[in-house]
């Protein structure tokens, strides 16, 4: 049942929040041993939250917009007094002393948080295999990955463990797992959702966003998460989200661009599976049939996005992760001096992928290489912003596949980081530019696994991504 239906059933007194929660917990207890979507199931706290909703409902007090809806939370989002691990050993035993802003907003809305979901360590990965606690599996096929890094959040929604989930997206970490698991995932415009309490990976790219079983539920959650926050200095001050109001607008007369370089057109990136390109073409035809004005557009720098991202993100990560030194959080490996303790703690606490990214970032920022790597990547970012701005003079939204392939097998790409990184080629441009982008399921691949289509829009035009996704969702059903 959709989050919208749960809200109205509970508000009308036809069902209690506690009944709804117990149904979801029953699903979790039955399916979790196979999927491993969660690092922590917060069932007792959830029962208390649901009971509070039921008491408020009985007393006739006004209920929040998500009252009684079970929500799963990615485990890199801080929850006061509840372990927040980032799927890393280095945060072993750490409980944040505060709630992330999105957690406070969910609580105020009456949402019931059922657990903290698994992720690639510190959100670095595209398969949720880089978790210190073992991989999450894809609910559509247990031999395959759910995507990543928000793989636990995507699997939780796809398996019916939670009606909604919150993830974070630095290079595609909401959209790609949503595509792999056959659900909707959206990365908002940078600065529209507060990052306060999101454990930092790459601060100029990270953004929290919604995952849901359908577009309308994703819009409902987005409208709740987005909005100004004085605690985040990069939060956009006067932004008012209105995704739900966009759902029924249709696409008649809307100008839609297909990015040639990311959709198998001229000068396209390599490695896009033909069936994925095929579903994207089908989606574009569906938009055209619904009245959209479709054209192919060119964003030549889009092919450079992958390289720019794998310099910028590790550079920022190497700086952000310097704070894990065995002094203030979680793990410490004792040694004779503080300097040795710092090294011993980081060496034991971080997994391979985190070490690789820290090393790559340290190298890209080091004396003699800064200009050739990090400095150049920042200039490519400007090129992309300029090219997208000029394309958006003539179109309202852009369409690409979300990921080059459908979900791949567990273990298939873990030995070759570059093979893993190319997964992000279509999703990265929206992070480098800060633009909003959504992934919506559209048909299946040759292997019968779900395929996602991505809609991108200019900064602050988050609503139109939901508008187009709603039309595609209708066309796909």
């Amino acid at each position: 049942m959709s989050a919208r239906a749960l809200v109205s059933e509970i508000a009308a007194g036809r069902r209690s929040a506690s009944e709804v929660l117990e149904e979801h917990l029953a699903h979790i207890y039955a399916g979790e041993p196979q999927l491993h979507a969660f690092n922590l199931i917060t069932d007792e706290l959830a029962r208390a939250s649901a009971a509070a909703v039921d008491i408020a409902a009985k007393a006739g007090r006004p209920l929040g917009p998500l009252a009684g809806v079970p929500v799963a939370l990615k485990d890199n989002i801080c929850t006061r007094g509840i372990p927040t691990t980032c799927s890393s050993r280095i945060l072993d035993g750490w409980c944040p002393p505060y709630d992330a802003t999105v957690v406070s907003r969910l609580a105020a809305a009456g949402a019931v948080i059922v657990g903290k979901t698994n992720l690639d360590e510190f959100a670095m990965g595209s398969s949720t295999e880089n978790s210190a606690f073992g991989p999450t599996r894809n609910p559509h096929d247990l031999t395959r990955v759910p995507g990543g890094s928000s793989g636990g959040s995507a699997a939780a929604v796809a398996a019916g463990f939670a009606a909604l989930a919150v993830g974070s997206d630095t290079g595609g970490s909401i959209r790609q797992p949503a595509a792999f698991c056959g659900i909707v995932g959206m990365k908002p415009t940078y600065g529209t959702v507060s990052r306060f309490g999101l454990v930092a990976f790459a601060s100029s790219l990270d953004q929290i966003g919604p995952l849901a079983a359908d577009v309308a539920d994703a819009a409902l959650l987005y409208d709740l998460l987005a909005g100004p926050d004085p605690a985040d200095s990069t939060s956009i001050r006067d932004f008012v989200p209105n995704a739900v109001n966009h759902l029924d607008r249709g696409v008649d007369g809307l100008r839609v661009g297909v990015v040639a370089e990311l959709s198998g057109g001229p000068g396209s990136v390599q490695g896009l599976a033909p069936c994925v390109v095929g579903r994207t073409t089908d989606a574009v035809e569906a938009l055209s049939a619904a009245g959209a004005d479709v054209r192919v557009v060119s964003v030549p720098s889009a092919v450079l996005g992958l390289s720019a991202y794998y310099l910028v993100a590790p550079a920022e990560a190497s700086s952000n992760l310097a704070r894990y030194d065995g002094v203030r959080h979680g793990l410490r490996v004792d040694a004779a001096t503080t300097a040795k303790m710092n090294i011993a703690t980081r060496t034991l606490g971080f997994g391979d992928e985190v070490k690789r990214r820290i090393m790559l970032g340290t190298y890209a920022l080091s004396a003699g290489y800064y200009d050739a790597f990090y400095g150049k990547a920042l200039k490519v970012r400007t090129m992309m912003l300029r090219e997208f701005a000029s394309v958006y003079d003539n179109v309202d939204v852009l369409v690409t596949p979300t990921a080059p392939t459908s979900a791949f097998a567990l273990g298939e790409r873990t030995a070759d980081p570059m093979k893993m990184y190319v997964n992000d080629v279509c999703t990265i441009p929206a992070n480098l530019t800060g633009h909003p982008a959504i992934s919506v399921p559209f048909g299946t691949a040759a292997d019968n696994m779900p395929v996602g289509v991505q809609i991108m829009a200019p900064a602050l035009h988050d609503g139109v991504t939901f508008q187009v996704a709603a039309v595609l969702e209708k066309a796909a059903s």
Binding site: R80, G81, G93, W94, C95, P97, Y98, Y190, G191, S204, L205, P230, S233, T234, I236, L304, S307, L311, G326, R328, H329, G330, L331, A336, T337, T338, A339, K340, M341, I343, R346, T347, F350, K355, R356, I358, M359, L360, T362, Y363, S366, G368, A372, F373, G375, K376, A377, L378, K379, V380, R381, T382, L385, D416, P417, M418, Y421, L432, T433, G434
Partner: protein
């Protein structure tokens, strides 16, 4: 690689050095498309939205709970984070030895970078 690992405060095994060197060379090889790019006088963008100073009213607000913050730390003493000695005699000697080694490693890491660049072409 050893030099970069030291800068990053990581201690790698020989096996890890070999594996990461090969894997990171692949990545550097890929990003050579950017390294080779003529970007002219395009200004850099470090952030997707224009950052401006954000001020708040200069008024007292509650801070984080002291006990909660310290409870999350591995070791505390007298209301503060506790750490091992910053320096001891042996550490001072080790540091000197490390500095001596760093000179050699710097040369070694430059060799690695030269190899990376060579393999780009």
């Amino acid at each position: 690689m050893i030099h970069v690992a030291r800068l990053a405060r990581l201690d790698l095994t020989t096996e890890e050095i070999d594996r990461f060197t090969a894997q990171l060379s692949d990545v550097l090889n890929h990003v050579s498309d950017i390294e080779a790019l003529d970007v002219g006088d395009i200004p850099p963008t470090s952030h997707p939205v224009a950052l401006v100073n954000v001020f708040r009213l200069d008024e007292l607000r509650p801070s984080l709970n002291h006990d909660e913050v310290l409870n999350a730390a591995p070791a505390v003493e007298n209301g503060r984070f506790r750490v091992p000695p910053i320096l001891d005699d042996k550490a001072a000697n080790d540091d000197k030895a490390a500095q001596d080694r760093a000179g050699q490693d710097k040369a070694a890491s430059q060799d690695m970078a030269v190899q990376d660049r060579a393999s780009d072409r």
